[in-house]
Amino acid sequence: MDLFLLLKAFLVGGIICAIGQVLIDYTKLTPARILVSYVVLGVILGGIGLYQPLIDFAGAGATIPLTGFGATLAKGVREAVSSDGLFGAFTGGLTASAGGITVAIIAALLAGLLCKSSEKS
């Protein structure tokens, strides 16, 4: 096991989250807007080729934050465009992220059916 990579994952992932906390505390950005911004930023960074080096450097420290979700969308589109052309621009993003989105949907459905929310507002 590569302990140095583990440390880098902790540091880089932590910094990405700390930036999010700064945005919450010192700007008017709501959590939803921050998540949207992170995903779009991930698409842009992935698109211009800056995100893959970060993944190579920090592993899960770059793939687990939501910017990694954006980079996955960009990567999926790039691969789909290179095989299918313009059609790929419309299929690549969701194809690459289908696993994550579907697991989250099923998990939310099951939890919604089986569990009770504790805090009542």
């Binding site: 990579l5 583990l6 994952a9 902790f10 992932g13 932590g14 990405i16 989250c17 700390a18 999010g20 906390q21 700064v22 919450i24 505390d25 010192y26 959590p31 939803a32 998540l35 949207v36 698409v43 993944i55 592993g59 899960a60 420290g61 793939t63 687990i64 934050p65 939501l66 990694g68 979700f69 954006g70 969308l73 960009a74 999926g76 589109v77 790039r78 789909a80 465009v81 052309g85 313009l86 790929g88 621009a89 419309f90 690549g92 993003g93 992220s97 989105i101 697991v103 989250a104 949907i105 998990a107 939310a108 459905l109 939890a111 919604g112 059916l113 569990c115 929310s117 504790s118 805090e119």
Partner: protein, 142 residues
């Protein structure tokens, strides 16, 4: 009480927690979740998953987050961790699961089914749209 009064009341009642401590906690919790993710990547790659190890690690964290949210644990951690539990993929899953649980009372279609996307929906809408723009740019100039 009116909406404005309520907003002001919650503003006054909620502890003003800003500053370095908050940021440090977001760093530690967020980094910790990513480190767990990396451990999962190591595990899956040791089983021969290769590059897919990253995908499996993300999916595992989504499931873990859903379980902890279902047990009402994740939201208690999130009170301390702030962006540390929001920004990782676990936060995305938590937003869906907790909304599904909370709005079940409004029905299975427009409550559970619709409200689970109140945060995840915009993330998907703008993420996918940005990726389509990127794809079109690739087709035109690539």
């Amino acid at each position: 009480m009116t909406k404005q009064e309520y907003a002001q009341w919650t503003q006054e009642e909620s502890p003003k927690s800003k500053g370095p401590m908050n940021i440090l906690k977001a760093f530690v919790f967020g980094g910790g979740i990513c480190a767990i993710g990396q451990l999962l990547v190591f595990f899956y790659q040791s089983r021969g998953a290769g590059e897919l190890g990253f995908v499996f690690a993300s999916l595992s964290l989504v499931v873990l987050s859903a379980v902890l949210t279902g047990l009402n644990v994740y939201d208690n951690i999130a009170k301390h961790a702030g962006a540390g539990t929001l920004v990782p993929i676990t936060g995305f899953a938590n937003s869906m699961v907790s909304a599904a649980m909370e709005f079940k009372t409004e029905g299975y279609i427009l409550g559970l089914g619709a409200k689970m996307f109140s945060i995840a929906g915009p993330v998907i809408v703008y993420g996918v749209s940005a990726s389509v723009i990127y794809g079109i740019i690739l087709v035109l100039f690539g």
